[in-house]
Each structure stands twice: as structure tokens, then as C-alpha cells.
């Protein structure tokens, strides 16, 4: 598969006006993100922010006993590291690659300079922040109210929306960690979706076969999050 080398593959970068885009271009560095790799640790410093192109990064909250729960997914519609420009020097969550791919990284210092200059970049990143808050709040509700199968459908659809393909490279164990449920629960839910031919799962690859049917099974949380992203970041999300 060819390596994506065009920063426009990240929709936030693509939505920037040309002058900012050109100014940032030489500062952006394409890096591979390996499955399961940690981009940030909770409470750690953030030397870089990441604009994923064909990778998905999960923001996870890690409990004292090591258990973790996913609070948001970030893919080609966003960036990882918003705590930086919101004035928190460290991030409260752990950021882990949950679907392997690439991201453009930019030094935090550089991003801060651009952000503080105001204008289109600041405007875009703040709107992205609001969309992310909605995603986090909806995840809090979903974790409480909806079945594992519904959560899995939500997770698959949100992830697929953030990838250029309908194939997710990942393991069930990772999904279980993401959803904060036991592995068997995910295996059972994924098995049902596979039997109904909505997805195909083999050797760490999940392929979405029937998107409309998946959308019918998912809880409302997916639509709430999607419509908020579509509304707040129309240029960044238009597919």
C-alpha cells in the first residue's frame, strides 16, 4: 500500500487556509503509528501533536488498577494533543494507536505559536475541541446505558468514519480495552455482527461489510457525535 504523503489527508490540516497550510507544511513530519503504541501517557509532557491520516488513536482513561476505558477516538478528522493549546500542560488521558497507520506530527511549540496568533487555525481547533467534548460526553452516557453490541457498533462506525478505508487493523483485546468490557463480551458481540454479515473479522482485521445495517443496530450516540462533527467541522469532515 502506498504511504500517504499528502498532509491534506488529515481533514483539519486540509481545512486550513492556504497560507497557514504552506507555512506549516515544512514543519510537518509524517510518522508511522504502530498498533498498540502509546502516543502520550497520562500526565506526561507532549512534545508533539499528531494529525492522523490513516491511523486511529484512542484517548483512554486509565484507572489506578490499570483498567482503561476509551473516551474518544481521533482519526483523520482531528488531532491528538488538544490539552496543549487549551492551557493544560499535561494530558489527563493516555493516547494509544488502535488502528495502525500514519500521522503528521508537529512540534507542540510550533502549534502553540500558530494557535496564539489567532485566526483560522485557532478557530478550527477550538471548534474541533467542542466536537470532541460532545464525543466524550456521549461516550460517558453510552458506557452507562447501552449494550456491548451497541457500543461496538458505535465504535466501529466512528472509527470507520475516521479512516480512508473500511478495514480496521486491530485485535479484539484492544477493542475490549477500549470499551472497558471483558474480552468475552466483545467476542460475543463481534460474533453476532459477523453471523449477520455486517462485519468480517479475521486475524486482527475487521472489515465493515454492511454499513447501513450497522447504522440500524447502533445506539443513538453514533448519530449525536457524527452530526456534531458534521455541523462544527463541515470542511474537515465532508467525505
Amino acid at each position: 500500500m502506498p504511504t500517504p504523503r499528502i498532509p491534506s489527508l488529515n481533514k483539519l490540516l486540509a481545512a486550513l487556509p492556504r497560507d497557514i497550510h504552506e507555512r506549516l507544511l515544512p514543519k510537518l513530519e509524517l510518522v508511522p503509528l504502530k498498533l498498540g503504541a502509546s502516543v502520550y501517557e497520562a500526565g506526561g509532557k507532549q512534545p508533539y501533536v499528531y494529525f492522523p491520516t490513516d491511523a486511529i488513536v484512542s484517548l483512554l482513561y486509565v484507572m489506578k488498577d490499570g483498567a482503561s476505558a476509551e473516551i474518544a477516538v481521533v482519526g483523520n478528522e482531528g488531532l491528538v494533543g488538544i490539552a496543549l493549546f487549551m492551557g493544560g500542560e499535561t494530558t489527563p488521558s493516555r493516547a494509544v494507536v488502535q488502528s495502525a497507520g500514519h500521522a503528521y506530527r508537529l512540534s507542540s511549540k510550533r502549534l502553540k505559536v500558530e494557535f496564539e496568533a489567532g485566526g483560522a487555525l485557532q478557530h478550527l481547533l477550538l471548534r474541533y475541541t467542542q466536537a470532541l467534548i460532545t464525543q466524550m460526553a456521549q461516550t460517558a452516557v453510552c458506557n452507562r446505558h447501552h449494550s456491548i453490541e451497541q457500543q461496538l457498533c458505535r465504535w466501529l462506525l466512528l472509527s470507520a468514519d475516521r479512516l480512508p478505508t473500511n478495514v480496521l487493523t486491530m485485535t479484539q483485546e484492544l477493542i475490549a480495552n477500549m470499551l472497558g468490557v471483558r474480552r468475552e463480551g466483545v467476542t460475543e458481540a463481534a460474533g453476532k455482527l459477523q453471523d449477520a454479515r455486517l462485519i468480517n473479522y479475521s486475524r486482527g482485521r475487521i472489515t465493515i461489510l454492511d454499513r447501513p445495517k450497522l447504522e440500524r443496530r447502533v445506539c443513538e450516540c453514533y448519530a449525536v457525535v457524527k452530526s456534531e462533527f458534521d455541523r462544527l467541522l463541515p470542511d474537515a469532515i465532508a467525505r
Partner: protein
């Protein structure tokens, strides 16, 4: 003569430099908010609120009239943060959870003020970061922790923000807050009462042993509190 109590303020506003305060004061209207009052539906924002000694719950609405609390706002914060992110509608519902006073500002005036007042803008962005930490914690907490631990956390967070060891609420309300069935809350509150940690009577909960309650609460309480006290920690 009795000393007049110094009015409590809102942390975001108190960081504003002296020279900006007179203009800001003209835009702020003191309002008295009652329990259960809806300040904001998940729609267009008309006003922002800076709580002084009231407490506001943020709910993510679901169909079927179910809503789950995702955040609590007191004098450390504000209601209407989407405006500070350049977004004119709210995705959450804001309901007064503890009666008291707040300062209210019109949405348009607030947006103009943000352009004029970089100190305010920076402290609000910082607050949004903390609010996101709270929402994050709630998402994880909802997935993992027992009703009793969550109940304890909620009582402590409410009591901190109300600066009072008395919290007014019914089991039904608390159940709605925590997104669980009422019977679950009744059992959890009963356990807390038997241990002598709280006293419950007719819609009033009194925290008798805050230290013990902190031990029963899940880790989420201490973590969010520590972060509010030291945002970079």
C-alpha cells in the same frame, strides 16, 4: 454593626485585571437561580452563567427522556463554554442542582468580551481543559465503578461546590444523576447511612464523615479535585 459578608465571586471572573472589571461588571447581571431551573437546553445559547454559590449539572440528553450527568459546574467555572470555542449551540442540558446566585451575560456581549479580554479567554480555555478532564473521568467512572463509590463521589463533588455538608436531593434525583435505577441508589445510600457516613432524611443528605466518604468514593473524586487545584499536576 455586623460586618457585611464579602460577596463570593466566580473564579474565572476574579482573574480579570482591574482595568477590565468595570466594563465586565456592566455586562453581568446577578441572578438568583432555583433548584431544577433549566439554564440551557441542548440548543442555541442565549446567555452564559458564571455560578457564584449555585451548582449546575450538565447532562448529555438521550432519547426516551433519559439523561446522564456528565459534569458539574460551580464557582470554578461557567455554563456556556461552546461560545468560547466559537460554537453558538450547546450539546448539553444545564440544570440548577444547588440553588444560589450566578452572574449572567448575554451571548453576544460575551463573544465581544472574549475578543477584548485575553485574560478571560485564557482562563476560560483552561477551565474547558479541566471540564474535559471531568467529563473524561465520568465516562470511565460510568463504565467501571460501583454505585456506592459513584454515589460517594457525587456527594463529595456537590458538597465541595456548594461549600456545604448538606445536600438537598431525593434518591430518584440521585439515580437520574448517576444513570442507575432508583433501587440501586436506595441500597447504596442505606449502606452509607448504616456506616454513619451520611444522614438522610426527607430529601436532605448530610455528610457526617467526609474523610470516610472520601475513602468510599472511587478514585475519580480525588483525581478531579487534585487537577482542579493544580491543573498542570
Amino acid at each position: 454593626m455586623q460586618a457585611v459578608a464579602k460577596p463570593r465571586s466566580n473564579a474565572l471572573l476574579s482573574e480579570v485585571p482591574q482595568k477590565e472589571r468595570a466594563r465586565l461588571a456592566r455586562l453581568l447581571k446577578p441572578v438568583s437561580l432555583t433548584f431544577g431551573e433549566v439554564l440551557q437546553e441542548a440548543q442555541l445559547i442565549k446567555h452564559v452563567y458564571f455560578p457564584v454559590d449555585c451548582l449546575v449539572s450538565l447532562f448529555a440528553p438521550l432519547r426516551d427522556n433519559v439523561a446522564v450527568e456528565v459534569g458539574l459546574v460551580g464557582s470554578e467555572g461557567m455554563v456556556g463554554v461552546p461560545l468560547a470555542l466559537g460554537v453558538s449551540t450547546s450539546s448539553v442540558r444545564a440544570v440548577v442542582q444547588g440553588a444560589g446566585s450566578a452572574l449572567r451575560m448575554g451571548a453576544a456581549a460575551f463573544q465581544r468580551e472574549l475578543d477584548l479580554n485575553p485574560v478571560l479567554t485564557t482562563s476560560i480555555h483552561r477551565y474547558i481543559h479541566l471540564l474535559m478532564c471531568q467529563v473524561t473521568q465520568t465516562a470511565a467512572c460510568n463504565a467501571y465503578h460501583s454505585i456506592e463509590a459513584r454515589c460517594a463521589r457525587w456527594l463529595l463533588m456537590t458538597s465541595d461546590r456548594m461549600r456545604s455538608d448538606k445536600v438537598e436531593l431525593t434518591h430518584e434525583y440521585l439515580a437520574r444523576m448517576l444513570g442507575v435505577r432508583r433501587v440501586g441508589v436506595t441500597v447504596a445510600a442505606g449502606n452509607l447511612q448504616r456506616q454513619g457516613v451520611i444522614a438522610y432524611s426527607r430529601g436532605h443528605i448530610t455528610i457526617l464523615e467526609p474523610k470516610k466518604l472520601e475513602k468510599i468514593a472511587c478514585e475519580c473524586y480525588g483525581l478531579v479535585k487534585a487537577r482542579y487545584e493544580n491543573p498542570d499536576g
